[in-house]
Amino acid sequence: MSLAQAGDVEEAAEPVVAASQGRGVGEVRKGGWFVLLTIVAVCVLWLIPALGVLVTSFRNGDLVNTSGWWTAFAHPFQAGEWTVENYRSALDAGGLGNSFLNSLAVTIPSTAYAFSWMDFRGRYLLFVTVVGLLVVPLQMALIPILKLYVNGATLFDYVVFPQLHLNGTFLAVWLAHTGFGLPLAVYLLRNYIGSLPSSIIESAKIDGADHFTIFWRLIVPLSVPALAAFAIFQFLWVWNDLLVAYVFLGGERSVQVLTLNLANLVGSRGENWQLLTSAAFISMALPLIVFFSLQKYFVRGLTAGAVKG
């Protein structure tokens, strides 16, 4: 639909453009079509599997196993073709509803926790060190952190980190995700905050604001685009994470997160993969909502650190 509309607009605009710009226009428009076609092709390629999953998630288990999902379009209005049964059983039987909430419980606090570090404005060296941590693979840190959680840490008989028995608790995952998200957060926000005009801060100083007021009344509200962009990043990353959750939470059902549950669905009922498709769509729904409601900030925030405004 929107593509067709875009085409109409382009055509309508054509005579004007051609008249005003003369010869060079043809080349530009050829380029424009090429870009447009490429984008459409990429979008379609990306969307086909997702569409397949969506269609499958609404189909009968028997049909899924006997025919391809595209055959559903041949007789879309036939009774028995569509069902929401998969969703019901995925939510109930798979314990998916429970893990949905678990995922939320993990995602939101760690994102919020990361926010509480946003006032981190360390010296340059410290900043470089923190950003440098971006290159350390997360997997390297898993075992040491797990050991830290289980055994605590001592240095010359002093307890540096107490034995908290954090493994298997949400707190463990919150802490781990916050820690892993920190370098990127610091990097993004430092660059963003650095690009705010200095005169605004100076003006506030003259108006009588101290550092605390400047931070809370100016920096934080003005950093909303960057904060939102990072929130989306962190949210999607935490939401889609399997590894950290698996390592620190284990497979126990009461604390199982969505990704883990999905993985188990494949493992335990590989034959019933119509359930998997429904589950996958449930797990996708929330990130999609988050993304679409915040995408304005997402785009703005991504470019925020790159160029000085």
């Binding site: 605004i200 506030a204 100083k205 007021t213």
Partner: protein, 406 residues
Amino acid sequence: MAEIVMEQVSKVFPDGTAAVSDLDLDIDDGEFIVLVGPSGCGKTTALRMVAGLESISQGTIRIGDRVVNTLPPKERDIAMVFQNYALYPHMSVYDNMGFGLKLRKLPKEEIDKRVREAAGILGLQEFLSRKPKALSGGQRQRVAMGRAIVREPKAFLMDEPLSNLDAKLRVQMRSEIARIQHDLRVTTLYVTHDQVEAMTMGDRVAVIRKGVLQQVDTPQFLYDHPNNLFVAGFIGSPAMNMVEANLSISDGSGVVEFGGYRLGVPQQVVSARPELKAFDRKPVIVGLRPEDLEDASLVPDAPADRRIRTTVILREALGADVVAHVKIQAPAVVTEDVKELAHDVGQEALQAVEQGARSGESTFLARLNPRTAAKEGQPIELVVDVGRLHFFDPGSGLGIYGGDGN
């Protein structure tokens, strides 16, 4: 309200750059002083030192009866208007203006009263609930002014507040700011690189060059009695014409010769400048304001020793007058002052000056009556108002006055 006194104030940046050197400046209570100079001359640094945004390397700054050297900005009781207005983008106009008062814990009714009063002065009443991004440049500028006004501070500090506005609006806001300052009688330190703003707004104007104060005086006095070549060249638009000439004095009156021209210097000019005698039969730099040249055909009875015959290179009609660029067969004056002034205009101007010095030819600008017959490429005879000649020492660049002239 209070006076601001700067004593021997210097600023040296960590990299060794001396931005301001031994600045002495007394700003009286309620006075409007304009700091003016080419870009990078240290005028903004000076202002920021008064504001407390820049530390003071040496000297003392007093606001009222307090030495403020080590006080943070918020305790200096000053308000500043920034070049880019520095409005808080997420706050409404009302909150922008009230922010400083809120932080000072003023009662709500008092804040409301002051904000509405300032909005009334500035014509912002209907925009109080808008965000800055929904305002035009001129309105934003007014909000920045309003933020300063509501504070009722001891002094206003303004850092090129009009330079982001387009030309027409700048002229309007120029008079508006001057009017507001006049009504409120708040001591004001105003920084600009635009000498027109300096001339029109300031009670007094302080000209700064490379961190050193050149001259402080009323606009008209600066214009008529520039201390040195720099002030002479900086104040006034089009700029003063300068040429190196030979001076000879006999019987109390003098003659200057340059590029084949002879101009008589009347007795009262020589007697008003006792120092001029020391330059008898020596080179001096003669300065001529463009408006002190006139088309000879419009001044038929001018004596021969006031006339210059030359050729028009370019004619610019401005409506009220015509600026004629004419060729003078004398080398352009190239001193450090002139170079710096040209550098401020741009690299091309600097090259033109150096080129002129080599070729032994220079250009004078003459502001002529629009009835002039001046045509490009045509010869023209100009009459010089010799009573208004300026003289400078070619060695030091200082103006030659002496006695009570300076």
